[in-house]
């Protein structure tokens, strides 16, 4: 697989509560877990934003601006385009903007063709931006940890924020309790920034991308399988563990058939 991590170390203007563990470190650890499972070779490419022609103009237009409307940011202000240009120069994603996932994948696929990446290359774009998709059922945008298309997009903050936290969390939050004051027993039930469980969770999502490219289906209905499509943090943490197994029997056999094996 080809990894395009758009997150070379830049100082954020505002540090995330506490010291930020470099995203690369998390990715590196996740990749090594993932390759130990699959033996899949991982090559690294440089930022796809930079490879994509006209990315700044297009990206500014892909920002989600209204939670309840599928309309995107059709007429970006010059400031917005200038912001995207700055980002492009610095390769500095992760400022907090939310982009339309499917449109973003379509845009970045232009960058892939500019880089002569072919279908067989299985490109994977890991970003510190937020990505969202519009849900036709409830007619709202939802944050996503991943968009499975060409390329596959994975949003690092999306892993922490897209799957919903336990209901108690929102109850306390609505009473004005800040994140830092949440009880520890509750905090164990969802991922936070710098969470030591993050690399293992990301490895499972890389595995979903892998299966997406192998079979077209990244997900598995088994709630203990790493391919489980989690909508809650608790589901995510339950599926992204080595117990009772890394993947279900069916997916284990699928890996073995290709002479890949789970060494985790």
């Amino acid at each position: 697989m080809m990894l395009f991590p758009c997150l070379w170390p830049r100082r954020w203007l505002f540090s995330q509560k506490g010291h930020l563990r470099p995203s690369q470190e998390v990715i590196r650890e996740a990749v090594s877990i993932f390759t130990s499972w699959t033996g899949e070779e991982m090559r690294e490419g440089e930022c796809l934003y930079r490879a994509t022609p006209g990315a700044a103009e297009d990206l500014a237009g892909l920002r989600v601006i209204n939670l309840d409307s599928p309309a995107l940011n059709e007429n970006p202000f010059p400031i917005e385009i200038a912001f995207e240009r700055r980002r492009r120069e610095d390769c500095q994603c992760g400022k907090g903007a939310v982009y339309a996932g499917i449109h973003l994948a379509a845009l970045l696929s232009k960058g892939l063709s500019a880089r002569r990446v072919l279908w067989g290359d299985k490109p994977l774009f890991i970003t510190r931006d937020y990505i969202a998709t519009f849900d036709r059922d409830d007619l709202r945008w939802h944050l996503r940890y991943g968009v499975f298309s060409f390329p596959v997009l994975i949003s690092l903050p999306g892993i922490i924020e897209a799957p919903a936290r336990p209901r108690e969390y929102y109850l306390l939050r609505s009473q004005g309790i800040p994140d830092a004051m949440m009880p520890d027993s509750l905090r164990d039930r969802y991922l936070t920034v710098n969470d030591p469980r993050l690399p293992r969770v990301l490895a499972g999502i890389l595995l979903q991308a892998f299966f997406y490219y192998q079979s077209g289906d990244p997900f598995c209905p088994d709630p203990f399988c790493s391919l489980y499509h989690a909508h809650w943090q608790e589901e995510l943490l339950r599926s992204q563990r080595d117990e009772p197994y890394i993947v279900c029997l069916r997916h284990r056999q699928a890996l073995e058939k290709e002479e890949r094996w789970l060494r985790g």
């Binding site: 540090s15 209204n66 939670l67 922490i160 004005g176 830092a180």
Partner: protein
């Protein structure tokens, strides 16, 4: 035993008030910059501009300045800023403590009082109890000032108070009116500008965007603070005073480029 206070008559007091106000007001009928909104972003922008010798007027609709900066989150009188916001606190002489790495906490009243004093010391003039009503537009719809009125006038029924507003001119206008984005909205009403609304989803990390998008949205009009979020439809965020202070500073930099 002598009296403590010097003897002055009622009329002397009235003359001092009226004379002082008029002398100053006359000067600020034409300013370099009018900042609409005296919250943390507006005060910070004003302080920076006045420090650079620019004639700066802040229009505030309440009788008090500082907006939400007095109170902070959960009515606990503590305000928090993330790094590098504490550098501004240090500059303003506001005592703060480190809560954890990258997160700093200060007393709301102390921080707010220092910020206001610092803006006043720098030479900012303030029209409080004054509400922004409209923009002054010049050729090619360039923003060239603000139309204002007394806040109490706005509160009374129209048929009782036909008090016309007055226009103040300025080379640049800054919208620091918070979520309302009153100046930008007025431009929208006039069909000159279109805001994106405030419909973004709640994400943990949107402070940077407020600072990044601070700038001139229309010739003569700079937007800063939470008004930036409304103008650009940025994701929602919690109380974020660091972003307000830094956005105010960025707004001042943008204004200076145009003066």
């Amino acid at each position: 035993m002598g009296e403590i206070f010097a003897k002055v008559s009622e009329k002397d007091i009235t003359r001092a008030i009226v004379g002082g106000f008029i002398r100053e007001f006359e000067k600020f009928v034409e300013s370099d910059v009018i900042i609409v909104g005296g919250g943390p972003a507006g005060l910070m922008a004003g302080r920076e501009l006045a420090t650079k010798g620019k004639r700066t007027l802040i229009v505030e609709r309440n009788n008090y300045l500082g907006g939400g900066f007095w109170i902070g989150g959960f009515l606990m009188n503590k305000i928090t800023v993330r790094h590098p916001g504490e550098e501004v606190l240090k500059e303003l002489g506001i005592p703060f403590e480190q809560a954890r790495e990258g997160l700093f906490v200060a007393d709301g009243p102390h921080a707010c009082a220092r910020l206001i004093a610092s803006a006043c010391d720098a030479g900012v003039k303030i029209l409080n109890m004054t509400v922004f009503e409209d923009v002054v537009l010049r050729e090619n719809n360039r923003v060239g000032g603000a139309v204002v009125n007394w806040t109490p006038v706005e509160a009374l029924p129209r048929q009782i108070t036909c008090v016309d507003p007055i226009a103040l001119e300025a080379t640049m206008v800054v919208d620091a009116t918070g979520h309302d984005a009153s100046v930008v909205r007025k431009m929208e009403e006039r069909g000159v500008l279109k805001t994106k609304g405030f419909g973004g989803m709640w994400v943990e990390r949107s402070e940077d965007l407020v600072v990044e998008y601070t700038g001139e949205v229309h010739p003569g009009l700079v937007v800063c603070g939470m008004a930036t979020a409304t103008t650009f439809g940025l994701p929602r965020m919690g109380p974020t005073f660091g972003a307000m202070l830094l956005s105010g500073r960025r707004a001042a930099e943008e204004v200076l480029k145009k003066l």
